[in-house]
Structure formats: C-alpha cells, structure tokens
Amino acid sequence: MAIPTGNLKDRLFERATALFAGIVLALALLLFALLVRESLPALKKFGFSFITGTTWDPVAETFGALPFIYGTLVTSTIALLIAVPLSVGAAVFINDFAPPWLKGPVSFLAELLAAIPSVIYGLWGIFVLVPLLRDHFMKPVTRVFGWIPLFKGPVYGPSMLAAGVLLAIMVVPFILSVSREVMATVPQRQKEAVLSLGGTRWEMIRIVIGQHCIPGIFGATILGLGRAIGETMAVTMLIGNRPDILLSIFQPGYSMAAVIANEFTEATGDLYLSSLIAVGLVLFLITFAVNLAARWILTRLVAHASRGI
C-alpha cells in the first residue's frame, strides 16, 4: 500500500465519532417523526387553516395557531431591532475604542449575561423591566402617539414590547460575541488603507464593516433570531399570554413556545394535545430553517474570508 491509512486506534476512534454523530442525527429525525405523528390528528382536522386560523378555543375545540406565530415573530423582531444595533455598537466600542484595561471586564460581563437562567430574566422582567417600561415608556408614548395603531393603549404592562425588550437583552451576548469575532478578523492593512486616505476613525469603521463584516453580522443576527424564537420561560412570564392578534406592541400577545409550556399539562382532549404538538412542529420547522440559514451564511463568510484580502 502506498499511503498508510493509520493505526487501529485511529480507525476505532473514527468509527466511534461517526457512531455518535449518527446517534445525534437519528435523535433529531426521531424527534421530528414523533412531532409529525402526534400532530397528524390536528393537521388532518384543520389542514392549512391550522396555520392561518386566528381562533384558539379549547372549549369549542377550534385551534388556529396564527396568534402564536404572530406573537413569536413580533417579539423576535422587536428583540433584533434593539439587540443588533446595540451589539454592533458595543462590539465596535470594545474592539476599537475601549482602553485596553476595560476590554476584558466588558466582554466578560457581556458573556456572563448568556449564562443567567432565563427564569431569572423573567423574574427581573416582571419586577423591574415591566414597571419601568410601563411607567416611563409605554404610558407617555400612548399619551402622545396613541393614535398610531402600533402604540395604542390601554397599557397593562405585560406586553409584546416587554417580552421583546427582555429577549433583546438575552440575545445581545450572542450577537455581540460573534460580531466581535468577525470584526477582529479584519486585516489591519484594510483599516490602515482607510486612514492613509485621510479617513476618520468613524469612516474607517464604517468602510471596514461594510467591506468585511456585513455577512458575519447577518449570520450573528440569525443566530440571535433562532434563540429569540425558541425562548420560552422569559417570554411566558412577560408577554401577557393572550391568544389575540393585536397590532399594538403595548398589548399582550402569546408565543408558540409560551402556549406549549402553559397549556400542555392542562390539555384534556386528544385534539387539544395534538394541536399543541402541531404548534411545536411549526416552531421546530421555523427554528430549523433559521439555523440552517445562519449556518449557510456563516460558511459563505468563511469562504469569503479565506479568499484573502
């Protein structure tokens, strides 16, 4: 044989890792199959209107999941609208402006945020964030801009906005750390190219981010989106749990993860249970698609970066 193929240990190790990978894949497929099987009764009964239906009424056994899909998308969107600029700004600050002694502590604290259990975020949200938003943001805003449907009263406190803001705080660590890594890969000579042409520091940051970091930040955003969509506890505690589609972000709503967590133990009828599992299936598919997109964008980024410059 021309090229030795490695010793027995290496081959065993390779087999073992392949086995583990196979197990993980099989588990995912099994989970998916289970979700599909269990949600079949609901999907058969309601068909496509399970996704487009706006009524969720366990007593009448009518189940439409749109309010939850809506609530999930609205809260996640609010979260990203806040978290992305915040994270990118913080990443720029830490990488380019913070004095060296501040860099460590700031990024350590930001990463610590990721380790806090979400139920703690939920408690903090109920006792601190909700009153704060209600009295100092939602109330004054409704008074002036209440005529805009997005900000219509009455204000209770628990709302899609509150849940979205809390989600934003929860996803910042993830978007921040990926953004920082992406910005740190920008070659020094690209930054110096801007400076050497008489660019200011801000122009340097703007051009370099535009030239090198947009795909990475986009990937980070999708990663954050994946987390925001699936987050259960903190959202359940803040969103108000009302299965209605309301335009105003000051109003309560409901999310897919929240409705499953809240109603699973009390779901009596078979159709009710099956409908909740079908919500889970929708959530699974959306999260899966989002993560796939993120993976795809990030691999493209790597390919781009390795092309040099």
């Binding site: 801007v194 050497s196 042409l197 200011t200 535009g210 092309r307 040099g308």
Partner: protein, 257 residues
C-alpha cells in the same frame, strides 16, 4: 509657504519608541521636492516605523511615542493644530500587501478617498479624477473596460497599481511606499518601478526597499538605516559607488544584513 527649491520635508532629531523600546534614534534628514528617496537597511532597523511617522500612522498604536520635528512645507506635522486626518490626504501611503477594498469595484476603489470626509463631487468630475489617477498609475489601459468589476478581480501587480491610483486620487504631495513590490512577481515589479520613476517627476516619493538594484534604478537619494540610526543619506550614485560610511559599504556589498 516656502520656495519651491526648499526641501519638502525637514526631519530633525527624530526619535521613536514602542513602550520602552527605542526604535529610531536622532534621525535628521531633508527630503527634496519631486525626488525619489529609497530607505534601505536590514530587517527590523526601523524603516517602516520611520515612514509611518511621516503620515502619523502610529497615532493609534498603544505605547508609541516620538520626539523631534517633522516639518512638512513649513509646518510641524506633530504640532497641535495639525489634524492627522488632513495630513494623511497630503501624505499618501502604499502598503506592502496590495489592499484594495474587496467589495468595491475598481472605480469605487479609486474614488473612495474622494468621497471621504463628507466630500461630494459631481459625477463627471469624479469620473475624470478616477481616470486621471488610473492613468498616472499606468492601469487605465488594462482596467478601463471593466471599471465595475471588483478590485480584487485584478492580478496582484494590478491590485498594487490600483492601490497607487487610489492613493494618487486624493492628490498627495508625498507618497510613502513600504516595500511596494515585495509581494509581486518580477514583471509586476518592473512596472511599479517604472511607475515610481515617472511619478517622481511630479511628486515626492519615499520608498522602503530591500532590493538594492531596485533602489539604484529608481531613486535619486538613498538613506541607509541601521538599528534605528540613519547611517548615511546621499545621492543614489554616490551610495552605490562610493559610500562614506564603512557600514553602508558592508551592507551593499552583502557582507552583512
């Protein structure tokens, strides 16, 4: 403003440190207008550090410190009212590795400097400046038909000329080049050398190079650095035929370095 015949740069007692490490020692030299000066010397002797002092590229380097004077057209560039951003438009720079912006077209790469600082010139004027800069960088004929292609689609040597065009577009009085050919093949190197000779008629060029033949071909003056000291600065012909300092002679005859 001084007369045309006075030196464009007057450097006096320039010393520089990275932290506690002194990298340049009491450098004094004058650079004449519209000449090409080569900076030579063994690796690590401070050549890059020196030319990066001239456009204040070290301003953001933590721990960098400098003393002495660098007077450009009668103004000390490190004095208080001088804005380093404005200075860098007057003192352009070309780097060792071609570094065009990867998501900009050839056109945009040349125009980018003209669009900085909120400046906005009419489209036709911009196009004129881009063409003029590409012509000066001897890239116009090769690039004129694909100005909208990415700058990175060019070959290495073309990319380096693109970077020269980009630097020329903001119309600097001095162009600093740090080993502009060291990443290029011999043919591309030849083109850049020709270009440097031509450009030297209209602006002042200071170029760091390790290549003695290159220095002899392109420069009017050669400065020889050794461990942070300026050993000798003289006409290129003199340096290569009859250097005054023994260390210069040892270096050019290849006995060390």
């Amino acid at each position: 403003m001084e007369t045309v015949n006075s030196p464009i740069l007057k450097i006096t007692e320039l010393s520089a440190w990275f932290g506690a490490n002194q990298v340049l020692r009491n450098i004094a030299m004058n650079i004449e207008r519209n000449t090409v000066t080569s900076i030579m010397g063994p690796s690590g002797c401070g050549k890059s550090t020196f030319i990066r002092c001239l456009n204040r590229m070290h301003d953001l380097t933590p721990g960098f410190r400098l003393s002495g004077g660098i007077v450009y057209d009668g103004t000390d560039i490190y004095s208080d009212p001088i804005d380093p951003v404005a200075l860098r438009r007057k003192v352009g720079m070309v780097f060792q590795q071609p570094n065009p912006f990867p998501r900009m077209s050839i056109f945009e790469n040349v125009a980018v400097g003209l669009r900085l600082n909120g400046k906005n010139m009419p489209k036709s004027e911009l196009a004129g400046r881009v063409e003029q800069s590409l012509r000066m960088a001897a890239l116009w004929n090769e690039a004129k038909d694909h100005l909208s292609r990415p700058g990175t689609s060019l070959s290495g040597g073309q990319q380096q000329r693109l970077c020269i065009a980009r630097a020329l577009a903001v119309e600097p009085g001095i162009l600093l080049m740090d080993e502009p050919c060291s990443a290029l093949d011999p043919v591309s190197t030849g083109k850049i050398e020709e270009l440097i000779e031509e450009l030297g008629e209209r602006l002042t060029i200071i170029v760091v190079t390790h290549n003695m033949q290159q220095a002899a071909r392109i420069s009017d003056f050669v400065a020889f650095f050794l461990m942070g000291d300026l050993v000798e600065l003289d006409r290129s012909a003199k340096i290569f035929t009859n250097p005054s300092d023994k260390r210069t002679e040892e270096y050019i005859t290849g006995r060390f370095g």
